[in-house]
């Protein structure tokens, strides 16, 4: 009975915070099918480790760790290889248009832009946009607070330059 209650509690917490999982999936995948697959995998990993969630930190904070660990290490989807350069150029646009019809145009642009970034940089950008404190970023990624601060300043600068370039272009 208690395990059923546990499961119900977990599902309700996941339900409340599902947008966060969607954000991670959106950042680390480039198609709707891969997004759904990653969402499922993160949900499974969250549920499997839910016993170890002791409530010391916020549920959402704990979700970043499990979500990012799943996206960065546990889950690898083979990318389909397309040899033609012409085709490759066209694919991201098609993917973005088909992905989320409701999504804000600037966010769609952002996701497309950061698709080429490294997996670690994507994690840093996500944590920056989520407005996380340096300590929490450091703890999530396993880096020092000082380095988290330095990295965040670089990420901010990079995002700013990207926005400026977009306006200029």
């Amino acid at each position: 009975m208690s395990s059923l209650k546990n499961e119900a509690n977990f599902v309700s917490l996941l339900n409340e915070n599902q947008n966060l999982v969607h954000k991670i999936c959106r950042m680390y995948t480039d198609s709707k099918a891969a997004h759904d697959d990653l969402f499922q995998e993160i949900s499974i990993q969250l549920w499997r480790s839910y016993d170890r969630f002791e409530g010391k930190s916020k549920f959402s904070t704990w979700m970043y760790r499990v979500g990012l660990n799943t996206a960065i290490t546990l889950y690898r989807k083979e990318k389909k290889r397309i040899d033609s350069g012409v085709l490759q150029d066209n694919i991201p646009q098609i993917a973005v248009e088909e992905y989320d019809s409701e999504i804000d145009e600037q966010l769609a642009w952002l996701y497309k832009k950061i698709n080429a970034f490294s997996e670690i940089d994507k994690a840093l950008i996500l944590l920056y946009l989520e407005d996380k404190k340096y300590d929490e970023i450091a703890e999530t990624l396993g880096i020092s607070s000082v380095n988290a601060r330095v990295k965040m300043n670089r990420i901010k600068k990079r995002l700013k330059e990207m926005i400026n370039d977009r306006h200029d272009g």
Partner: protein
């Protein structure tokens, strides 16, 4: 700075097409994990057991000790076998200790490092084993050329010691080559992205 604030604002309020219901989420968490990393560990365990089972699957494994005796290498071959199994035990313990430490709730760097260290124990075991095997083969080969009557007679007849060494060299290179390719396909593709991420996080800390 305002532009960034605006972006953060949009980020915080973004909506996604798909919103799962509680029932759907309940269904999702019952499904099987598709994580590909776990296969690395299944394969690692299989490798260890393959090494343990060598005496049982190699034909005439125990008879080969009689041959080593004839080459005056009996004690040497026993010592090599004992060292081989001590190494196996040590690396298996290391492997399972690290494996138990892997936790998805760890920090990203911690998680990457424990996964990679777990696998590294297997890799190091392979390198040590291959190294010992190579030393053993060289010693047996050298002794065989000195004491094996068939080979001694063969040398006298054809004087082809260079040829024999050449053939042995090719066989050893082929074995190492096949192992290398197998490793590249089995592990390289899965582990290289993890190594890249670990390195990137280490660089941030330096």
């Amino acid at each position: 700075m305002d532009e960034l604030k605006l972006l953060k604002n949009k980020w915080a309020n973004q909506k996604f097409d798909k919103q799962y219901s509680a029932e759907e989420l309940n269904g999702l968490i019952q499904k099987k994990s598709k994580s590909s990393i776990k296969y690395i560990f299944y394969l690692s365990v299989a490798e260890f057991f393959l090494y343990i089972s060598i005496p049982f699957i190699v034909p005439n494994y125990y008879e080969s000790f009689d041959y080593y005796k004839s080459l005056n290498l009996y004690e040497f071959s026993i010592a090599i076998s004992v060292i081989g199994y001590i190494l196996l035990l040590y690396f298996m313990l290391r492997f399972f200790r690290n494996y138990k430490r892997i936790s998805v709730t760890d920090s990203v760097k911690g998680h990457l490092s424990t996964i990679l260290n777990t696998r590294r124990a297997v890799n190091q075991y392979i390198y040590f084993s291959l190294g010992i095997l190579l030393v053993f083969l060289c010693v047996v080969m050298y002794s065989a050329l000195l004491f094996d009557e068939n080979l001694v007679a063969f040398q006298e007849k054809k004087d082809s010691i260079v040829m024999i060494i050449f053939i042995i060299g090719i066989v050893i290179s082929l074995i190492i080559g096949v192992f290398g390719l197998l490793y590249y396909f089995l592990y390289g593709r899965l582990l290289n992205p993890l190594k890249k991420n670990e390195k990137e996080l280490m660089n941030i800390n330096h």
